[in-house]
C-alpha cells in the first residue's frame, strides 16, 4: 500500500488503537458534563437560575467580563504588536512573563494582585493618597479577570500577527504611510478575525475566573460575587442551584467555543 489518499475518502493513516485512546480522551471531557445534566432538576431549572442571588451573580459576571475584555483589548493588542513586530533585548523574557498567568494557579495571581493593589500592597500608599480603594470592589474583580485573561488575547493575537505576516505593512510604509496609519488601516483590519476570536477567548476566561477573584476581591452579592463564586457558595446550601448555574456556564462556554471556531474558520478562508 502506498501513502496518499485511498479513493474518495481521505486516508488518515492512523492505527486503530489510537482511536481507542482518543475515544477515552473525549469521554473524559464529555462524561462529566453529561453527568452534570443528569443531576439537574429540570423542573426547577428556570426558577433556580432566576433567583435573586443568581441573577445578581450572572449580571455581575457579564458586566465584569465585558469590562475586562475591553481592558484586555486595549492593553493586549499593543502588547501583541510589540511582541510580534519589534525585536528588542529581553523580548523572549517579556513574552514568557506576560504569558505566566496562563500556567499560574489563579489563586497565586490573586495573592500577587493583593500585594500590588491591596491596602498594604506595593501601590497601596500611592492609591490611598489618590483616595482609590480597590480591594473588595468590583474594580478588583475586573482587575483579577484581566490578569488571567490578558495572556489569552496576547498569545492568540501574536500568532495571528505572525501568520498574516509583514508584507502589506511594508508596502504601505513604502508608499509613504506613517506607522500610525499602517496600524489602523493595514494591520488591524488584517488581523480583525483573529482579534475577534482572541477577545472571545479572553471573555470566556474572564467569565470563568474564580481563584484570583476570591483571593483578591472577596465575595459579596452584587459587588464581587461573580457566577463561579456563587456556584461555589451555593454548592453548600443548594446543590441544585449550583448545578443549574454550572450548566449556564457550560452553555456559555459551548457558545464561545463554537463562535471562536467559526471566526477562525472564516479567517482561514
Amino acid at each position: 500500500m502506498g501513502r496518499g489518499s485511498v479513493m474518495g475518502r481521505t486516508y488518515a493513516g492512523l492505527p486503530r488503537w489510537l482511536y481507542v485512546s482518543a475515544a477515552f480522551g473525549a469521554l473524559l471531557v464529555i462524561l462529566p458534563l453529561f453527568a452534570l445534566t443528569l443531576r439537574l432538576d429540570w423542573s426547577r431549572f428556570f426558577e433556580l437560575i432566576t433567583s435573586e442571588s443568581s441573577v445578581a451573580a450572572l449580571q455581575l459576571s457579564l458586566q465584569t467580563s465585558v469590562a475586562s475584555t475591553v481592558v484586555c483589548v486595549l492593553l493586549g493588542v499593543p502588547l501583541a504588536m510589540v511582541l510580534a513586530r519589534d525585536r528588542f533585548a529581553g523580548q523572549a523574557l517579556l513574552r514568557s512573563v506576560v504569558l505566566l498567568p496562563l500556567v499560574l494557579p489563579p489563586v497565586v495571581g490573586g495573592i500577587a494582585l493583593l500585594y500590588t493593589f491591596g491596602r498594604r500592597g506595593l501601590l497601596g500608599p500611592a492609591m490611598d493618597v489618590l483616595g482609590v480603594q480597590i480591594a473588595f470592589s468590583t474594580i478588583a474583580v475586573v482587575l483579577a479577570q484581566t490578569f488571567v485573561a490578558l495572556p489569552f488575547l496576547v498569545v492568540s493575537l501574536e500568532g495571528t500577527l505572525r501568520t498574516v505576516g509583514h508584507r502589506y505593512e511594508l508596502v504601505a510604509a513604502t508608499l509613504g504611510a506613517r506607522p500610525g496609519t499602517v496600524v489602523w488601516r493595514v494591520t488591524l483590519p488584517l488581523v480583525m478575525p483573529g482579534l475577534a476570536s482572541a477577545a472571545v477567548l479572553s471573555f470566556a476566561r474572564a467569565l470563568g475566573e474564580f481563584g484570583a477573584t476570591i483571593t483578591f476581591a472577596g465575595s459579596l452579592q452584587g459587588v464581587t460575587r461573580t457566577l463561579p463564586l456563587e456556584i461555589y457558595l451555593q454548592r453548600v446550601t443548594d446543590p441544585d442551584a449550583a448545578i443549574a448555574l454550572s450548566l449556564v456556564l457550560v452553555v456559555v462556554a459551548v457558545v464561545v467555543t463554537v463562535v471562536t471556531a467559526r471566526i477562525a474558520e472564516r479567517g482561514a478562508r
Binding site: 480591594a135 476570591i214 464581587t224 457558595l233 451555593q234
Partner: protein, 262 residues
C-alpha cells in the same frame, strides 16, 4: 546493569505509584503505600481541627503500634458530602450539627455522635488594630472594612445568630466561603476586622490580634464526632473518638482554645 526491561519496570512502577497518588480518598493512597502489616485509620475532620487532631493522631499511633492515622481536613460540609458519596472514612468530626445530621441521616454513623468541644467567635484584627476595634459594638462603625463568613457556612451561620440575638446588622465588605479566607484577609491587612473562631485566632499566632466579645456566647458551635459504620477500620475509628473524648484529648483541645463540650 540496567537492562531495557528494568528501566521499563521502574517506569511502570513509578506510573502506578503516581496513579495511586491520584486516588480520591486518602485511605486508598496510604493503604497502598504503607508498609505491609500496618493498618490505616482514616479520620475526616473539620478544617478547624487540623492542629489538635494532628497532635492526637501522633498520640494514637504511639499507643497503637502498627497503626497509621490519616486525616482529611476540609470544610465540614465538603466532608459530609464526600462521606455520603462513598468516601472510605472511619470517623467523622463535624464543626456543626447540620453536617453531622447529613451523615447520621444517611445511616452511615456507628452509634450516636458525641459532642467533644465547643468553639466561639472572636474578632480578629490586624496586629496594629487600625480601626481601633474594642468589641462587638464597634463592628457596625461606618466605613469599617469588616469581613465575615457567608451565612451558608458554619462560621457565617454563627455570625448571623449573634447578629439576631443582639439585634444588630453588620454590613461586611465581603462574605467569604471559609473561615480561613476571612483570617487571610485580616492577616493581609485588607480587612480592618474579621469574625473567626477563637481557635483560628490562637492558631494564627501574632499575625492577628484577637478581641473576645461576650455576645459570642449567643452562638456556640458544637463540635461532634462519630465512628462510621462502613469504614474499613470502624473499630479503630471508634477508638480515636474515645481518645478525643478522653482527658488527654480534652487537654490538647483546651490548649488550642476550644471550650469543653456543653
Amino acid at each position: 546493569m540496567p537492562t531495557k526491561f528494568t528501566v521499563l519496570a521502574a517506569a511502570v512502577a513509578a506510573l502506578s505509584l503516581s496513579l495511586v497518588g491520584c486516588a480520591s480518598t486518602p485511605a486508598a493512597s496510604t493503604s497502598a503505600s504503607a508498609p505491609a502489616g500496618t493498618t490505616t485509620v482514616t479520620v475526616f475532620a473539620a478544617a478547624s481541627m487540623k492542629g489538635t487532631f494532628t497532635t492526637l493522631g501522633k498520640t494514637f499511633e504511639a499507643s497503637h503500634p502498627g497503626t497509621t492515622v490519616v486525616f482529611n481536613f476540609a470544610g465540614s460540609q465538603t466532608l459530609a458530602e464526600q462521606i455520603v458519596n462513598g468516601a472510605a472514612a472511619d470517623a467523622f468530626a463535624s464543626a456543626n450539627e447540620a453536617n453531622m445530621t447529613t451523615v447520621t441521616g444517611a445511616g452511615l454513623a456507628s452509634g450516636q455522635p458525641k459532642l467533644y468541644a465547643t468553639n466561639q467567635l472572636e474578632i480578629a484584627v490586624p496586629p496594629d488594630n487600625p480601626a481601633g476595634i474594642t468589641g462587638w459594638k464597634d463592628l457596625t462603625k461606618k466605613g469599617l472594612k469588616l469581613v465575615v463568613c457567608a451565612p451558608a457556612v458554619p462560621c457565617g451561620a454563627a455570625t448571623v445568630k449573634v447578629e439576631q440575638a443582639t439585634n444588630t446588622t453588620l454590613s461586611p465588605v465581603s462574605e467569604e466561603q471559609a473561615v480561613t479566607d476571612v483570617l487571610a484577609k485580616v492577616q493581609a491587612g485588607e480587612a480592618d476586622a474579621g469574625l473567626v473562631y477563637k481557635t483560628d485566632v490562637q492558631a494564627a499566632g501574632n499575625t492577628v490580634k484577637g478581641i473576645e466579645f461576650d455576645e459570642s456566647a449567643k452562638a456556640t458551635n458544637n463540635n461532634s464526632m462519630v465512628a462510621l459504620a462502613k469504614g474499613p477500620q470502624a473499630a479503630l475509628g471508634l477508638q480515636f473518638v474515645d481518645l478525643v473524648l478522653s482527658a488527654e484529648g480534652q487537654k490538647v483541645l483546651a490548649a488550642a482554645g476550644f471550650g469543653p463540650a456543653a
